[in-house]
Symmetry: C2
């Protein structure tokens, strides 16, 4: 309590002051403050900590935070953080990045391209080591990425973008397999409940639905389009019920929409899956807990995360223009009519 | 086109070069590049931009990103980004922060205190303007926050923490109202399905359940504890079904758990809500789309977000130790037995 009194209160306490007070080198003070890189004996550490307390030593905030062990950081830009598919993908990316010593900062574009671009700039300005971008756009604006001057990997995309590594699911084949499965249950009038893909492209899930119908020589069932949300699916379900020739099965482009459709069908008093069979897409946890549990095309979330992390900061770093397309898996539960 | 040719291609163009070419001070170059802090006349700005283009001046990546319009940033640390309650809270915080000109970086502690503390340090090191912390702990470790030396507001907490502003829901009163409602439907044996609150405290939802039973002169129904997840709820539902004296109603501490319980009850062939009435907690979108739709205590997500943003960077900034407790709202759907 005496020592600090001799100092002017305005004069900043330095690492040197702490070293002198504790009778150690400034390097030892650093080791204690930073928790390394070298070990310090417990007795010495106690002396240094005592000196820090007595002198009220405070390194500056950023330096202090860094010294406390700030990680290398990656940014992850999601189009919609309220969609479980994306939160599960984010979770897998966090785990894969953590295994390589990176922490992940998440941002949510919430459907807005302007917000997406602002996030790219913000992350670049905070000097993250790289960015994963799951774009709100069918065809991401790569010019906006190039100015950021940090490595970017496009995630959950079905378009290759020259100059950028990208990773996506084989949506078309996944959808084809799902519809083929419904056909195997004997359905011949199979609807499509499609999410509203951004302007500028036909979603591959729609093409996969068509492929399966064509392969089987079946005509197209009705198509209902809605937002990729539960509320969107609910409205789509009501439109399906009102179809002139009601389908007996529906392929749905996301679990979220399928959960909304289930509500509409339950409310209309249908017995499921007997009155309407469903296969959805994504394979998020929600699909397992709906009633009936949803048969769904599971997107390869873990494999996508691994490929994206590898492309950004791992083994495959520095291979731009490489577009990885990963297969999905049909998970069968009760909504399709399986026992 | 002549001017650049006289420069060695390896020699970096500096701000000074731009200033000399444009016939302005280096400060003016900065104002143009940074968009301030002082205004520059349109004619001068055009001259500077021309010089930048001719000389191909490129400030470093971070400076460039900043000049492109990097926002002020806040960090938001969530305990579990897979819980819709937290993603909905994050969404509300993003919107409230955006209204004040801030973007939000999200991090996910995924139930780990070590990860939570690393996120605090990482965000501090990237010099965010403040951090919202929804802790994995019942009683957050504020010492770890103090070293970060950035403003922190505790979010979704029920404990006041001296020195920090904090915002939470009135869990106890919300739970009491939910259980009172079940009692109003004639139930006398009401179970509690409780999430596993971190060591060191009794969750206020449990106290609220007890309050309502005590007020009505009813004995305690069985208590089943599980993770705050769908899978946890599913296991809890199976234990409820196996109870020696099966309850006729259950109050559940989260929508996630309630969705898992619904699955267990459906699988056991129960008719809902007749065979088992349910009121859950959180009021996330999921609760609206389960079958039957869940009556639930809606947490005041929007009001919490407003209060937290106000405390961190808005009107109520600089009022540490202030603990805001916000009332919840009982939303009645079908799972409680309401028509």
């Amino acid at each position: 309590m005496n020592e600090p009194a001799v100092r002017s209160p305005k004069m900043a306490v330095t690492r040197k002051d702490v070293a002198r007070y504790a009778g150690v080198s400034t390097a030892v003070v650093s080791y204690v403050v930073n928790g390394g890189p070298r070990n310090v004996s417990p007795a010495t550490e106690a002396r240094v900590r005592d000196a820090i307390a007595v002198l009220d030593y405070r390194p500056n905030a950023a330096a202090r935070a860094l010294k406390l062990g700030s990680s290398r950081l990656l940014g992850l830009i999601l189009p919609d953080n309220s969609n479980p598919f994306f939160t599960e993908l984010a979770h897998a990316v966090e785990q894969e990045a953590e295994a390589l010593g990176y922490a992940v900062l998440l941002t949510n574009s919430d459907g807005s391209q302007a917000r997406e671009q602002a996030h790219v700039r913000n992350l670049a300005a905070r000097q993250v080591d790289g960015v994963f971008l799951a774009s709100v756009q069918f065809d991401p604006d790569v010019a906006a990425l190039e100015v950021a001057d940090i490595p970017v990997v496009l995630l959950a995309t079905n378009k290759a973008a020259p100059g950028f590594a990208s990773v996506g699911t084989d949506l078309r084949e996944g959808a084809r397999a799902a519809v083929k499965h419904l056909i195997g249950h004997g359905h011949t009038r199979i609807a499509l409940a499609m999410g509203n893909t951004a302007a500028g492209g036909v979603d591959d899930r729609e093409l996969g639905w068509l492929d399966a119908l064509t392969d089987a020589g079946l005509g197209e069932g009705p198509i209902v389009r809605s937002l990729f949300t539960r509320a969107g699916g609910y409205a789509a379900g009501q439109r399906l019920l009102a179809s002139a020739e009601r389908p007996t099965a529906v392929f749905v482009s996301s679990d979220m929409q399928a959960i909304g459709i289930l509500r509409a069908l339950h409310e209309a008093g249908l017995t499921l899956p007997e009155d309407m069979a469903i296969v959805s897409f994504d394979g998020s946890t929600d699909a397992e807990y709906s009633w009936p549990a949803l048969s769904t095309v599971k997107q390869p979330v873990r494999a996508m995360a691994q490929a994206a992390v590898s492309a950004l900061v791992g083994q495959d770093k520095g291979t731009p223009s490489r577009h990885g397309v990963i297969a999905s898996e049909l998970v069968l539960r009760r909504s399709c009519g399986c026992p």
